[in-house]
Symmetry: D2
Subunit: 340 residues, 4 copies
């Protein structure tokens, strides 16, 4: 349920509505936005009587929300959510491009690639310090050391850092370095971790699980937003199908579906989505053409020597050609890509 | 195996090579192309001794083809295949746009939509006369009557007709009307039908089966090309996955994968691929951005009254906006879209 | 819709009901069965007024059928359909076991394995004369020669023959030899072929397509039954999923789902369903335990030398151990397996 | 790599081998078992020279392990792993039957069903105190209160408790009550949680993720066993496919595949695997027939009033009929089911 009130309703009226909601055993949520004053209701909705609210001062409309997810839905909030990361606005006209290696491998490696990316005008660096790996014997990341190098890159080059928090133990350390915390595909339904990261109020990059439906992705986002953290960037990264010619099947249908049903920004990870480097530029272009708000792309100074996922990493020169094409493409879909 | 010979090799030398291939129990295929003279070998390759061919006059190189599919592979023929349909070149710079209703419903309906499409500059009309339907009780198409109306449209409006041949009985009738014969997803592994349609030497639009791998699609194309019919247009139309938010999952990864591995043109059917009309323009744009050679889109004069698949049909005005955007997009990916 | 009439209704009353149905533009179907007299209605049901039929003599009840499939549903016919193939009853207490090689390879091979199977008490021999193959270069079967050998086996050993009709051209030839015609997974939605084979009134083994839903399988069966051929044996043979440890994913859930919703017998093909010989006995046991009416199993005299699918063929001695176990299992699920 | 030594090798020789392994930067693991003395090696195997070990005293053989998973593989340990939970042996001849409601709903509810199950001879009770739910607004379990009731049931009725640990915060509390800790499907690749639960040395029920391959399930088990906790019970619970007639597709192929490749016991959860109560007995039977070591089944005193998953819960009387059938089935597959 959603209560719509006059834009200049007095705080007193707003509080009356919120108190009434609480008295029914539900939770009120003031929905951010410029064009209307809206209060969402979550919880046992069977007790909420529409007419009771319509009688209250300043209340203009009461709307039932049809989806299982509430606060993340367009029904609750029709305007696009814009997320501000150190002055960079995500979800608006400007495309978000996050680039970097799968994992931090050494101080030299991360400075090398970060320097090259910065020179190209890229503002967001991705790199994992903690790596979730199917096998206990695979490279698990440089861990604290990796975070330390990322902090140095941030300080020296002024780049925004996007890196993954794997578990509850490392949230704090990751928070100290990351400008955007990544929640990986395998953790999309690790609800405890989602809630705890949600509470930090940091921007979160929430990746779709490899067999998650769009509805489940939005419900996981709901776990974050229900803690009053609207800084959620969704990320499509490919799903599991029978096709074996590619690592995953990038589900670009999800972009227009999510744009219709949610106000949250959504970006695409073509690197995991296709998994073979020479097909990534084509899928990056397709992602933006489908309406995505940006991309997260694996770029490695030396893909054939990468500790992990080298076969799906672009080298800097291929990536540079790609962003030049993306700059041409952006205005066709009413976006822009500023590189400087 | 592939035998490469000098471009101006005398016919006599070429024939010697072909005879030798036949003598080994294999089949020789002259591969079309301007830049080299190539003869493909299919059949039991264990008897083919590379060195024996290298000794023959005019033979320059002998190449092993690593894929299961041979004649459709880039290894056999590195140049893109261009298909000429009444002067329209498919697979080159110009995008192919095929549009029209799911099925022919009446003389008025098909002339109405064909007229509108022609006015927009569309040259290829799609519409089913014979419809394969999961249920025996669903509308199965106007059949011969439908073909008759299509023949009239062709004659009066000069449009190129794309329509499906469902079975062996109707190949001839369809051939008389169609400029491009569609082979539907359910028939992608109906090898008898494929072979018989292949023999007509007509251009064929071969749709990917709903759970076919890219390799299987190319093997089905191989059935056609092995009869010396290179006029095959592949079509991605969505695959079956667990996602229920859309009718199918459009697998755009398939576009760069096929472009890498085959010389055949590939187009996309976003209408079946996503199955909900308001998401189709986004996926049409994504398809072209991914490198596809064109689109086949369902357009109905009155989608809410369509006999079949109305929910996935664009109305003429939405389609008109889409092609305007496609014209903007085309040059970004080195294509063009001429509407006149 | 289903009209239930008194068991001893006079023919005149029955005909009145059928005529009324026809007059509404629908089709009447007398449903076979001992315990009630039922007439199914298919076609545009919006014109059928329940009350009009209730007023007619001998009509006792009018039932709406909720599924998309009608004649194959339990709602239309609650009793199990029993199919009689030369005195062998399929779909009842006795399990149907069909065994044999993937394809007929030579006269010796087929007589060798048929002889061994007959000695074990197996009454149904499977073997393909026409083989649908993904690649045009793979072994396509011995064709007419293969049918000829099967006819000889039938004549000399008295076995019932189960073999596939691939296309319209070969229906007649296959019909002359086969006691049960197999419709392969790739042809499950080749509706023309289904209808033509249905018309022969021969028993048909209808295999589930590799990405067909249970509903689609039943709708394909409806194409046959709507031609008054109730001799349809359904067959689960594995579906396509992301799992690569096995060739397909055998979907045994389908057995209780189909048993609940349809009166047709259903058997399982564990050979294609799992695709690795040493896992087949376990899945054969699971199939019967799940409630299936029988099995179709690949058995080859010499699996490692098979022309096709050798890796999923049992050798005769493993098969013999399996049927001994099946005989023990059968009574636990109220079935029996007679071998003689 | 696996080092096989004489069964009565002196401890000194064993230690020499282990020290050598450590000196190479790898980890030695003594593999439990009666019939041979085996030391597994995990870590960077490129430094391990087979010949160097063969020269050491008491070393008899050095075997390369071909799978990505090592300690859980049959190559490392050919004998079935038996797990002892308070005198109940899991993985041997006796079938493990775990039954109970999806979640603890009240003291009365859990005592009611536990009492009924105990009377039927069931020794393991399942019930969730913490419930992972896709939506933040769904019932999340009674949490600590739920654990308290389970502790009471355990004390008063003497049943073994199987319950899920959702996150790191609750491991200790769950450990105090549970005899077997469940790791849910959504957490199958929550490696931090797996490792921490693994360290408790408690028996663990590891459920397959909804889109996990068999290989990934075994790699997750490897995370536990590599901490020297061999008490891992694997659980197949259905995977995601395109089929919508059932909640999931129970992949029984996984049973013989895992039995071949791993020594760990595997049970099946037909309740989640099919998701519709009336199809569950058939799939329970199929599971045991396929070779599974047991079942985990949802049984609720009053399914239609369940707080969660009522549609997939059996009522006590249907469950009682099922276990009677399972007792008949068990000896056919060389198992037994003791109810007392």
């Amino acid at each position: 349920m959603l209560i719509l009130m006059g834009l200049n309703s007095p705080r007193e009226h707003i509080n009356q509505v919120k108190e009434k909601i609480i008295s029914l055993g539900c939770t009120p949520h003031e929905i951010p936005g410029d064009s209307k004053l809206a209060i969402g209701i979550t919880g046992p909705s069977d007790k909420v009587v529409k007419e009771d609210f319509l009688l209250m001062p300043s209340v203009e409309e009461v709307v039932r929300v049809s989806k299982k997810y509430k606060l993340v839905s367009r029904e609750m909030k029709s305007e696009d959510t814009l997320i501000n990361v150190n002055g960079n606005i995500i979800g608006g006209e400007e495309l978000l491009i996050i680039a970097g290696p799968c994992s931090v491998e050494s101080r030299d490696q991360i400075f090398d690639i970060a320097g090259q990316l910065k020179e190209m005008g890229i503002k967001f660096l991705r790199a994992g310090a903690y790596k979730p790996r199917s096998s206990p014997y695979a490279f698990q990341g440089l861990k604290e050391k990796g975070l330390e190098y990322l902090a140095d890159v941030k300080k020296e080059l002024g780049m925004n850092i996007v890196t993954e928090a794997l578990n509850q133990n490392t949230i704090e350390a990751v928070c100290n370095v990351a400008d955007v915390i990544q929640l990986g595909a395998r953790n999309m339904q690790n609800f405890t971790l989602i809630e705890e990261i949600g509470k930090t109020q940091k921007p979160i990059l929430l990746k779709r699980g490899m067999s998650a439906t769009v509805e489940e992705l939005l419900l996981s986002a709901e776990y974050i937003v229900s803690q009053n953290n609207y800084n959620v960037i969704l990320c499509e990264r490919g799903i599991r199908t029978f096709e074996t010619a590619t690592r995953n099947t990038l589900d670009l249908n999800a972009i227009p579906v999510i744009k219709k049903n949610s106000h949250l920004p959504i970006i695409v990870d073509p690197s995991h989505g296709v998994g073979i480097w020479d097909k990534i530029p084509a899928m990056a272009m397709a992602s933006i053409a489908s309406g995505a708000d940006g991309l997260i792309v694996e770029v490695h100074p030396n893909p054939e020597k990468a500790f992990s996922d080298g076969f799906q990493s672009l080298n800097p020169s291929t990536f540079k050609s790609l962003i030049a094409k993306l700059q041409e493409l952006a205005p066709v879909v009413n976006k822009k890509l500023t590189l400087n």
